[in-house]
């Protein structure tokens, strides 16, 4: 985590202590601890422990036997580290296919939103056409409607395409987003007019201007949208639960619920399954942490 964490400090670049007034900058790398700093660290680490410990316990439980997890008082470390719960997860469910489905779903939705939302956002931000504001208002109204409440007709549509239990069923409705359009429109609005005009004088067409001049300039917003969408897609449960009921076509989130149905309260197996299911997104987070942080921050700025 080290590298990305260090670079992630965009909001609060670690300050190496304030130089004493009039004096030379301190040479030591460790600043003198300010009063109360120890207490602050204590509180903060206690909070961090609360955030992280459940995952440690999840791993430890997955490595214990069923008999051991139901011992009172509980053991902390497994008596013998047994990995068989992980094997059991893979034999009980087509977990490999499920992980693949989740990946396809995530990539499909993210790619779709990046393409469709950026095109529309560009038109809304930089072009003038009849009915623009009305149309934009109409699109924004989708923001108000929780997509979970439209699943009945959406299911019928997917069924009429003959796409139930297929990968496109997972990502089709999620490729279109009002939030994404809004976010990217805001980004396009900040760009100076002169850029387009210069490109137009050079003889570039609308699409060329969009693609090679404007789009690269809103890369941070695109990255933010990609992260937000990817996370939502990976975590989505209700929709896949409805359209893809065949275990081989389910994403991992829905698969995990059917693991619960099958193993009821067999906790070591369920902990192993939930660990595997959440690991991919956590790994992506570790490597792209900066983008995650920026995406959240940008979702809050100016809205």
């Amino acid at each position: 985590m080290g590298d990305s964490t260090a670079r992630g400090g965009t909001f609060f670049p670690a300050r190496t202590g304030d130089p004493a007034p009039g004096g030379p900058p301190q040479r030591t790398r460790r600043p003198r601890p300010r009063p109360g700093s120890v207490a602050t660290h204590l509180v903060l680490s206690l909070g961090a422990l609360v955030m992280i410990f459940p995952f440690c316990w999840q791993l430890l439980t997955a490595l214990k036997s069923l008999a051991e997890v139901s011992r009172v008082p509980p053991t902390f470390l497994p008596e013998d580290w047994k990995w068989s719960s992980f094997d059991e997860v893979f034999t009980a469910l087509p977990f490999r296919e499920m992980l693949t489905n989740s990946a396809i779903n995530t990539v499909g939705r993210t790619a779709g939103q990046l393409v469709f939302c950026s095109l529309a956002a560009y038109a809304f931000a930089r072009m003038r056409f009849k009915g623009r504001d009305l149309l934009f208002g109409l699109f924004l109204s989708v923001l108000m409607v929780p997509s979970s409440l439209l699943v009945l007709p959406q299911y019928d549509i997917i069924q009429s395409f003959g796409l139930l239990n297929s990968a496109p069923a997972l990502f089709l409705p999620g490729m279109f987003s009002a939030f994404g359009t809004f976010l990217l429109r805001q980004a396009f609005l900040t760009l100076p007019r002169e850029l387009e005009e210069a490109a137009r004088i050079d003889g570039a067409g609308s699409f060329r201007i969009f693609w090679s001049v404007m789009l690269p300039l809103i890369r941070p917003a695109l990255a933010a949208l990609a992260v937000i969408t990817a996370m939502a897609a990976w975590n989505d449960l209700l929709w896949p639960l409805i359209v893809n009921t065949d275990p081989e076509a389910m994403p991992i989130s829905a698969g995990l619920t059917s693991l619960e149905g099958q193993y009821e309260t067999n906790y070591p197996v369920m902990m192993a399954g939930s660990l595997i299911a959440s690991l991919p997104m956590l790994l992506v987070y570790v490597f792209l942490q900066r983008h995650f942080v920026q995406s959240v921050a940008s979702s809050g700025v100016k809205s």
């Binding site: 909001f11 989130s253 660990l275 956590l282």
Partner: protein, 315 residues
Amino acid sequence: MSVFPATAAAKAADRRAARAAGTGPAGRDQRTAYLFVAPLGLGFALFYFWPMIQTFYFSFTEFGPFGGHTWVGGDNYARVVKDVTVWQALGNTVLYCGIGLTALPLALVVASLLNRRGLRAVPLYRALYFVPFVTLPVAVGLVWNWLYNGDFGLLNEVLGWFGVDRRYWVSDPSTAVFAIGAVMVWSTTGYYLILFMAGIKGIPQDYYEAAELDGAGAVRRFFTITLPLLSPTIFFASVICMIQSLQVFDLIYIMMGEKNPAVGDTQSVVGLFYKWAFMENAQGAAAALAFLLMLLIAALTYLQFRLQKRWVHYG
């Protein structure tokens, strides 16, 4: 097109007319704009606007178990309004919203602690606090169910050291909502933390330095500088929090089984919708419920934007 070639002003008017009519070079621009918007527009039409109309239509019908539906007028709406479980679910949703909001002050406190000058390891803390938010909600629910487990769960064990009696946290109707709510707070605090840290970063450091010179303590600085200047962000966070509490489904779905005695006390509106639509074959009533919830969310959002004028401080 104009017959008389005339003044520049007339020409401009001409161009405007041409643009409106969709011809000439400006008209091509219009067509391009529509082409840019079209893919998204079609997607919205197919997957959002049409379903919205259909949901509205469905809400006046009843589905046969194996197909076909009949017009039942306002029966579904009557059922929704009369059904006690709907009101219970609405009450639960309000409760989730209230519990969920406690993540805001928590995140605010952590954010201002992290804002202390000269504090080390800030990115590391931020990274750790954000992990629960990145984790699959279904997995989060399973892990917490295990921690909450009445017989063999760690929570009871730890509380036992402090003399607290063991409980079946998620199957006791008096504690289940709070148990689930606590998990919601746990998993969203990191999100609000980052929002607030970004907001605090936007506050000029001079304000704090000036206040410090005036002898204002940390607490005072928090209340006189951080809180008011952060109010737009706090407002945004509370809107997000409300919308998410209204839609909470995953956690409850995974943490509550059908035999759980606390099912009724924890069900959310979306959970009830899922149950009606996909477990009890009552799609018509579910559609009516969905439609009413959409109206409720629209009304609440409108209300919040009206209220923000009262307390949100835009600098």
